[in-house]
């Protein structure tokens, strides 16, 4: 039987009022902001840095051999999340998540910008819409 799970999709980061916190640096100076280069990473959320100017969350990822490495994902500041009624509690330590992310431009393999976060229960948070390279 094909059970269709409800999907909650929350959008951050594209309609928010101007905030000084937002203006930090160029996305493309740190990440390859190109949908063709999105990486998909699945693992267990291990830590959250709820700080300005960007939050970071960390995901422990196991490779085929069982070896674990920790990825760091960057995203918009806490005030952005709050404005959508999303609190840090959304990111639960120990929960399995899948992140679609822009890789770090400097080649750091385990650093990326979280564009879309998929939670195990079917919820999805899209923090950005569209492909930034198309809107430059």
């Amino acid at each position: 039987m094909n059970i269709k799970l409800p999907i909650t999709l929350l959008i951050l980061g594209f309609l928010l009022p101007g905030a000084a916190l937002f203006a930090h640096h160029s996305l493309s100076a740190e990440f390859v902001a190109d949908d063709a280069r999105l990486v998909t990473v699945k693992g267990v959320l291990s830590k959250v840095d709820w700080v300005n100017p960007h939050i970071y969350f960390y995901v422990d990822v196991k490779d085929a051999s069982g070896k674990s490495e920790t990825w760091a994902f960057e995203n918009f500041p806490p005030s952005w999340w709050r404005r959508y009624g999303l609190s840090r509690d959304l990111l639960k330590i120990g929960e399995q998540i899948t992140v679609e992310a822009y890789p770090a431009r400097d080649g750091t393999k385990t650093l990326a910008w979280a564009k879309i976060i998929h939670f195990a229960d079917g919820r999805t948070v899209a923090t950005m819409m569209g492909d930034p390279k198309d809107v430059r």
């Binding site: 928010l16 930090h24 700080v51 500041p77």
Partner: protein, 289 residues
């Protein structure tokens, strides 16, 4: 820049209007209040302190909810549907993170011609040059109006949601402290002109920009005059900026009208600023790609 979300929003909203898939969820967002909302808030009685001055006390961060964003998804394709009245939709599209930009664009400071090259260089290299990129304070007028105000007979406290900042403005008739060290938010004194609180600020350091990402630097001669006028449950915030060393004339910012937030609402702690990105930046100043 992250600022290109303006384009992002403008591109995506028309997409959303032709939304096909099932609506699965919504999110609320915040924007500038409509003219009708402002008129209604203005019509409320203006509370006064015992000394007869308008009481500016309140949370001036409202309103928060501006409608709904309904979202549908079709495999990898994400589309939007904005289920708000058209006026709000347009307003949101024009605001987004660009609300501040639009406001600034309405009036821009006029710099001495010989300084325009420096401003462009600073702007082009904002990743390195903008002090806030390294978690330094915004200063005035960049930080904008306070989010919350407490008023007493001899001082007014301006509380900002950003960076847990409070500015205490004496209103007891004192003069500026000529010995004050130059600082990010300067030496401020307040006085009442009719029903308007006028805050005069000098003794700034030169370590801030006047606005975000434009390279609008200033010198220690910066002089900022802020005016707060309460009408009902609205607060009009006006700013004039002077710096004869760099500006050809005073810069009068586009006024803003704030509205009162929900009863009982207060500024909450802002997480600290912890810069972790600089070591990963790749541009002409940083690592080669």
């Amino acid at each position: 820049m992250f600022g290109e979300h303006k384009s992002l929003a403008l591109i995506l909203i028309p997409l959303g209007l032709s939304c096909l898939g099932g609506i699965t969820a919504n999110a609320q967002f915040r924007g500038a209040p409509s003219q009708a909302e402002i008129a209604k808030a203005k019509a409320a009685p203006t509370p006064r302190a015992k000394d007869g001055h308008p009481d500016l006390t309140g949370y001036w961060g409202g309103p928060e909810a501006r409608g709904e964003v309904k979202v549908s998804t079709d495999g990898k394709t994400i589309e939007l549907q904005i289920a708000t009245p058209k006026g709000i939709l347009k307003q949101q599209a024009e605001s987004g993170n660009t609300e501040g930009r639009a406001r600034r664009a309405a009036t821009e400071p006029e710099y001495k011609p010989e300084l325009l090259g420096k401003i462009k260089t600073l702007h082009d290299n904002a990743t390195d040059e903008d002090p806030t990129y390294r978690c330094m304070p915004e200063g005035l007028p960049r930080i904008g109006p306070p989010t919350e105000i407490f008023q007493s007979p001899d001082a007014v406290a301006l509380i900002y949601a950003n960076h847990n900042l409070a500015r205490i403005i004496p209103t007891d008739g004192r003069a500026h402290d000529k010995a004050a060290d130059p600082s990010y938010f300067g030496d401020a004194v307040g006085r009442w002109e009719g029903d308007t609180l006028v805050v005069d600020v000098n003794r700034f350091n030169d370590q801030t920009w006047l606005s975000a990402e434009q390279g609008y630097f200033h010198t220690e001669a910066l002089h900022v005059i802020e005016r707060f006028t309460r009408e009902g449950n609205t607060l009009r915030y006006e700013v004039t900026v002077e710096d004869p060393n760099v500006l050809t004339k005073p810069w009068v910012l586009n006024p803003r009208t704030l509205t009162m937030g929900k009863a009982g609402q207060h500024v909450i702690e802002d997480p600290p600023c912890k810069e972790m990105d600089q070591s990963h930046l790749v541009d002409k100043y940083h690592k080669a790609p």
